[in-house]
Symmetry: C2
Subunit: 345 residues, 2 copies
């Protein structure tokens, strides 16, 4: 049995499961020890290292789910984006997509071969994780396309927006390729044995409503339609900054919706259909709080979701690199102890 | 009669009024000509220059409202923040507020004297604007405090969040001072003759719901309660990224709510109380669009609000510095022509 999998199915659980976005990452000294020796892409592409990094936070904190150590840009890389990770700058793509010709040059012909390190890592992890479920993931087409077009991170997606508004055909061509490649990639992960999938659409909140429909909702729906998911493993969608469109999100065929830290998750729990589980949503910066405030905030979230089956504790975005792991330990303890409070209540 | 003022009161208008946030700014060559000769703060603090800059977009485009050329950080400066504008970096405050002692050092004792250039500019503008109404403005306490704490711009408010979560008393002290100073500042502008007020809470969307209530809704309500507004000039609130909390916003005693580009303004027009006017909400990056797409987008917004009294066309955030003024001209024409379409429809 798994608290996490039960919660994704909106089954009652003795306490909420907890995992944390980017839990295998730089805030952990044991992660930094590897990162000092290896390049980021090398770590992702070496199944033994990806496995070790994935396991680190499970060993330290006993999280209720593991998430494959990887990156949302693996698909861009496999399609032909020349991807590098530059210290202090993040992802850099030296051949950005700016024209139809650029989009036409992308190719999915060797996608499976180029991404084979991912199923390898998944199979290895499954032999070592025991009862802890493994979450596979992919970036949603819009967010991955944003990096491919901008050539890296961007706070406002200036170049991407110009492409959307002045070359819609190029945008459509790029999105079509990403929908197919992302569905293939997720199918590879399902075949290799992941227990759940999460789709990340980090930049979806920067779009206007018509583009939210055409570049977020429509392509994600197309991917979900292409999944071969015979065991019905649960799918989570985390589309940051889009809670104002909660109704559209809840009409997608997903089992879990991840919420960012902005909304009152208790209120969302009332609004959302009862057969959709919710995941979230503590402000990642709450991990800089004093002990007293951190405890009050965690408890507030737990209490506001205590009566709703289908709740998974998480942050409202990825954990930040300079967080003290002791703060994470406190949060994990609070969530684990909440079990006893409820049983004795 | 003024289209803008009528629309703020939800009176029917022959066409929607239009103005654009940051309309007096760097995208205009006539603005850049001044900026080459003067420092940004010098321009703001010299009533004749502030007047000239305010008038530039009115002369060029015939916008239906003028907005005082100034900055949301004037109040921080008057309270004792050592403010400078650094080319390519934006505002820099060299004595950021990080402790209670820092907050205690701020002083509003000479606020009126230090901000006297603002009413001077307003009085001068009122002699030159003719029938065009003049909008005065202030930054909301949370957004102004964010700059005062961070010491400048920040994409994630890392330092501000840590202060909120670990030194709530310091935060409260800073917010109290800003509430009083901002109310005084807006009262100065009302006394000097502005026809309307807009309050900008640019970073409000980065907060969680409890802090949205305590640091956005509560202080803005406190300011509104302190306004001496015998003529009942309309107040607009623009709190970027907070449409998910539209209900809380609409319960504030404001006449107009400015919407950012994310939401479907037509849908918001249905949800919001009929006595609240809406302003917005085209994506500022739509001004990079092809002519065809720009026209379709402007028309879509105009049509979606055509049946709702109380609508003011604007962007969903400030205009960007590299926009071609011809694109603005096209938008203005489309909005102005919409009048005729409706009359002949």
């Amino acid at each position: 049995m798994s608290l996490y999998l039960d919660a994704t199915r909106c089954m009652p659980t003795s306490r909420p499961p907890i995992w944390i976005m980017r839990q295998a990452g730089r805030y952990l000294p044991e992660y930094r020890a590897f990162r000092e020796k290896y390049g980021f892409l090398d770590m992702i592409r070496t199944p033994e290292i990806a496995t070790e990094i994935t396991l680190q936070p499970i060993r330290r904190f006993g999280f209720d789910a593991a998430i494959l150590f990887s990156d949302i840009l693996t698909v861009a890389d496999a399609l032909g984006s020349d991807l590098n990770f530059v210290e202090g700058k993040g992802p850099v793509i030296s051949n950005p997509v700016r024209t139809m010709a650029d989009a036409d040059q992308l190719s999915s012909s060797s996608l499976r071969e180029r991404l084979d390190y991912v199923p390898q890592a998944i199979r290895l992890l499954k032999t070592q994780l025991g009862d802890t479920p493994l979450i596979g993931f992919a970036g949603a087409p819009f967010t991955v396309a944003s990096y491919m077009v901008e050539g890296g991170s961007s706070k406002d997606l200036r170049i991407m927006k110009e492409l959307i508004y002045s070359q819609p055909e190029t945008m459509e061509q790029l999105m079509d390729q990403l929908v197919k490649a992302t569905a293939d990639y997720l199918n590879m992960q399902i075949e290799a044995g992941v227990d759940a999938i999460q789709i990340f659409d980090t930049w979806a909140g920067l779009l206007s409503y018509p583009e939210f429909q055409s570049l977020v909702i429509r392509p994600i729906r197309a991917i979900l339609n292409r999944l071969r998911n015979p065991a019905g493993i649960p799918i989570t969608l985390f589309a940051k900054g889009t809670s104002v469109f909660w109704k559209e999100l809840s009409q997608l065929p997903v089992q879990v919706i991840g919420l960012d830290w902005q909304v009152d998750i208790g209120a969302m729990g009332q609004l959302m259909p009862a057969d959709i589980a919710l995941q979230g949503n503590m402000d990642p910066m709450m991990l800089y709080a004093s002990h007293e405030i951190l405890e009050a905030k965690v408890t507030h979230i737990l209490k506001s979701m205590a009566d709703r089956p289908g709740y998974i504790f998480n942050l409202g975005h990825g954990i930040l690199p300079d967080v003290n792991p002791d703060q994470v330990q406190r949060v994990v303890q609070l969530v684990q102890q909440f079990k006893n409070e409820r049983i004795h209540a």
